[in-house]
Symmetry: C2
Subunit: 185 residues, 2 copies
Amino acid sequence: MTTDTEARERVLEAADRLFYAKSAHAVGMDELRTEAGVSLKKLYQLFAGKEALVEEVLRRREEAITAATMKYVLRASTPEDQILAVFDWMADSSGTTDFRGCAFINSYAELGPSSERVTAVVRHQKTGVRGAIAAMVAATGRPEWVADSIFLLFEGAMTNTAITVSSEPARQAQTAARFLLEKTA
Amino acid sequence: MTTDTEARERVLEAADRLFYAKSAHAVGMDELRTEAGVSLKKLYQLFAGKEALVEEVLRRREEAITAATMKYVLRASTPEDQILAVFDWMADSSGTTDFRGCAFINSYAELGPSSERVTAVVRHQKTGVRGAIAAMVAATGRPEWVADSIFLLFEGAMTNTAITVSSEPARQAQTAARFLLEKTA
DNA sequence: TACAGTAGAGAACGAGCGTTCTCCACAGCA
DNA sequence: TGCTGTGGAGAACGCTCGTTCTCTACTGTA
């Protein structure tokens, strides 16, 4: 006997994994139901529909990624190393074979230009990793454009790490970021 | 009376526009047929199927983008300005409301991890704009990591320009690239 | 034992997809 | 005028999807 909360958790976990791996439109509610071990009826009791589920998954993923990168950040000692630590997280993550880049960009890509889901994607750009980088760079007293640049390196490396299936782009981006930080010291 | 070549051209033009705007899976063959003004029969005479059409569209888009950026590049005088000119192209392109980022990343995003189409996407990473940037940077005698960094800035700016619907990321990336070039002079 | 209520399994439904097939109008030619 | 072949319009087919509905099994209670 499982509570609704447990079932909900299992669904969200399975949805996050499958949506990220195959993209949302390629995952059917039936496959999801099987993977989560939940009846179709309960699935629709817990979530209004597929779109609502996708949005919830994106919301949680934002938190999860921020938390994951923060674990790397907090391990570093100097402010500069903390900023560079997000690329360590990326390089390590690319080791897992199912790394598929930024879930928000991927989600944007499979959407039409006008969609409700775009809202969540755009919001992610303001908060999450971008916000963390901006805060850390500001704390070192460097100008805002340095943070913008490092975030663009981050995003570029995310997509290229996924496509090339290697940690090389993450390392390249880290090198560039380190250079930026050194020359703006 | 239209020849097969003309019909083929119309189909590819419409497919490129629609696929890019809505993503390939969201565009039906029937919509495409209507848009191109071609019978369904002829459509399947000209192309083996939807997947073949998508691959052909990606192939042509690679050429088109390279050509478009080259127009900006050749207008600049110094080698450094030539490199930075690709960001001018991006900033200008973002002005058109239907700018949706890098078609290859978008295509990757809507695909499963193992797909034939990934081949075309990966190939694009080696040639196209990346190749052009690499060649231009090498011509200035700067190390390879500078080219890698500028390409990552380019890719990051492509996605963020699309999501934020503004030319700001393109300008931010250009600023960073200029900084990199100046400090490695 | 009888009964009310719940939950699960999966059938069913309507829509949309890629692809194929049918039908018909019309051209060129004897 | 007949015949043949070509091409277009769109109906049809088989499939998958998101969502809903039906039926059945089972639980707790008197």
